[in-house]
């Protein structure tokens, strides 16, 4: 496959431009993605709608008609937004401030909730309690919110317990389930189909539709899992 150069900027349809800063999970590229989103949130251009940061990318959604109105001499709104993005890249204010205390999330690791815990322990040639302590001794970073409302993608899971996705995804993973997929971990905010290996469950709602900020976690947060049973 051809070598790709980063940052890579491309159209995501008629109303969005994506910037990819790399193709690996790393705190450094994630911080750049968050910084770009933050910059546009603080200083939006005419026609700007919102930014969606991910692991190593940010996507800027816009209203092409408003962008054209503000840039009548540019051939397309797409070009105008790509130029705005390119212009923002050299001046990113990357914050490296670590958010104070990690958020503690109590997890019940009993077999009733840790649907894949035992199989995973066998696959990793560990005892269940060893697997739990390897999982809970780390502090995880929230890299992005995606997939479902409030689903936080966190990393990185210790290599010894990095679990592949299930060959056949479950049709229903209960809300609150804590899963592992490769070196990522995450909590299902709602009942949903899913292929991550489930090791426990938390009672803390990850998505609260009635709140002003419905997502319990946000990109850049740090998280610690605490066994509660």
């Amino acid at each position: 496959m051809p070598e790709l150069k980063y940052p890579r900027i491309f159209q995501l349809g008629d109303s969005a431009v994506t910037v990819e800063f790399g193709d690996k999970i790393s705190e450094a590229t994630n911080l750049r993605a968050l910084a770009l989103a933050e910059q546009f949130e603080k200083r939006p251009f005419a026609g700007y709608i919102e930014s969606v940061p991910a692991y190593s990318s940010t996507t800027v959604f816009y209203d092409p008609l408003e962008v054209r109105k503000a840039n009548p001499n540019v051939r397309t709104a797409a070009q105008a937004v790509q130029a705005a993005v390119e212009g923002a890249l050299p001046n990113l204010t990357v914050s490296d401030a670590i958010s104070s205390e990690p958020t503690a999330i109590p997890v019940n690791f009993s077999a009733e909730y840790g649907l894949d815990l035992e199989n995973l322990a066998i696959a990793c040639t560990l005892k269940v309690n060893e697997l739990i302590s390897i999982f809970t001794e780390r502090i995880y970073r929230v890299y992005m919110i995606g997939f479902l409302p409030g689903f936080a993608y966190m990393g990185e899971v210790d290599e010894r317990i990095a679990a592949p996705r299930l060959a056949t995804p479950r049709l229903r993973v209960p809300a609150g389930s804590v899963g592992i997929a490769g070196r990522q971990t995450g909590i299902y905010p709602l009942d949903s189909p899913g292929g991550w290996q489930i090791i426990g469950r938390t009672d803390i709602p990850m998505f609260r539709p009635g709140d002003r900020e419905p997502c319990y976690l946000k990109a850049g947060d740090r998280v610690r899992f605490v066994p509660n049973a």
């Binding site: 496959m1 051809p2 890579r8 491309f10 159209q11 995501l12 349809g13 008629d14 109303s15 969005a16 994506t18 990819e20 193709d23 690996k24 999970i25 969606v52 991910a54 692991y55 190593s56 990318s57 996507t59 959604f61 092409p64 008609l65 054209r68 051939r75 397309t76 709104a77 797409a78 992005m144 919110i145 995606g146 997939f147 479902l148 409302p149 993608y153 709602l190 949903s192 998505f207 539709p209 419905p214």
Partner: protein
């Protein structure tokens, strides 16, 4: 799903373009207007009748108190929309009146409508709307069961092998039964790509065409997940999304590649026409 239909019928009844509407599949609801009101239907044609008299889509219609709205058979399209003058009284959530069924939030109690539900309407204080407003046929999406949808290139388009590119632009893809408001899974000749089959997740958009590891494609729809990790082959242009939104299982799509400038030009032309139509409605022309 069909954003043109919802905008146009809202304009027809004098609403804001993004006021709440009811989206219906067939068989659709049978409803009683407990108060006199003006309404309009658009999108799919489900052979609607008011108190037994056939009525047309895309026209403001006056319903007497107690009038009954029925949909008798599916003639074309898959999603019919109902707008009422003044709008439905539902609480906005995150700046939208839409229902998110997975999150059980938004719209009417965060769920699909059920038999026996009573939905309050905002009063308008005017009922002179059922004038002779006519929608120009050129404003209506070019609905078809076998449409050619225009696409622009996606980030991984260039990594399709040449034969797959020919397939994408030369063959038809059929909407499978495994399709919903999140995405339409298509069935066609499998495509292959030199890019990795799973990438780091990034944002995706309504109309994004992703390549699944099986070689089949999926087109993301209105309720798409916010991020995804499959190669992004192409994007259906916004002007053609309403046509896509009216498809159902068994319908077939052909794709035609266009430049970004053409996609934007079509959208601008449409918006100019919408704005003329809005003015005409306001002044009763």
């Amino acid at each position: 799903m069909d954003r043109s239909a919802t905008r146009l019928i809202n304009i027809l009844v004098g609403n804001q373009e993004n006021d709440a509407v009811i989206e219906m599949h067939f068989p659709a609801a049978q409803m009683v207007f407990e108060n006199e009101c003006i309404f309009a239907l658009g999108g799919a044609d489900f052979d609607p009748a008011l108190d037994g008299t056939p009525i047309d889509n895309w026209k403001p219609i006056h319903a007497e108190r107690g009038a009954e709205l029925k949909f008798r058979r599916k003639i074309s399209g898959n999603r019919c929309y109902l707008a009422v003058a003044g709008g439905f009284s539902v609480e906005a959530w995150l700046g939208s009146s839409s229902t998110n069924l997975a999150a059980k939030a938004g719209g009417y109690l965060g769920r699909s409508l059920e038999i026996g539900d009573r939905i309050a309407l905002n009063s308008t204080g005017r009922s002179d709307r059922a004038a002779n407003v006519r929608i120009s046929p050129s404003l209506l999406p070019r609905y078809s069961q076998f449409p050619t949808l225009r696409i622009t290139v996606g980030a991984e388009y260039d990594m399709l092998d040449p034969k797959s590119r020919e397939t994408l632009l030369g063959e038809r893809f059929v909407v499978t039964g495994d399709s919903d408001r999140m995405g339409f899974r298509m069935d066609g000749s499998p495509l292959s790509i030199t890019a990795p089959l799973e990438l780091l997740s990034t944002a995706v958009n309504y109309g994004t065409i992703q390549l699944l590891p099986s070689g089949q494609i999926v087109v993301l729809m209105a309720d798409h997940q916010t991020t995804g990790g499959y190669p992004r082959l192409a994007h259906v242009i916004e002007t053609d999304l309403p046509v896509l939104a009216q498809l159902g299982s068994g319908d077939g799509i052909a794709f035609e590649l266009v430049e970004q400038a053409e996609a934007e030009g079509l959208r601008e032309a449409f918006e100019r026409e919408v704005s003329r139509f809005r003015t005409a409605c306001i002044y009763g022309l």
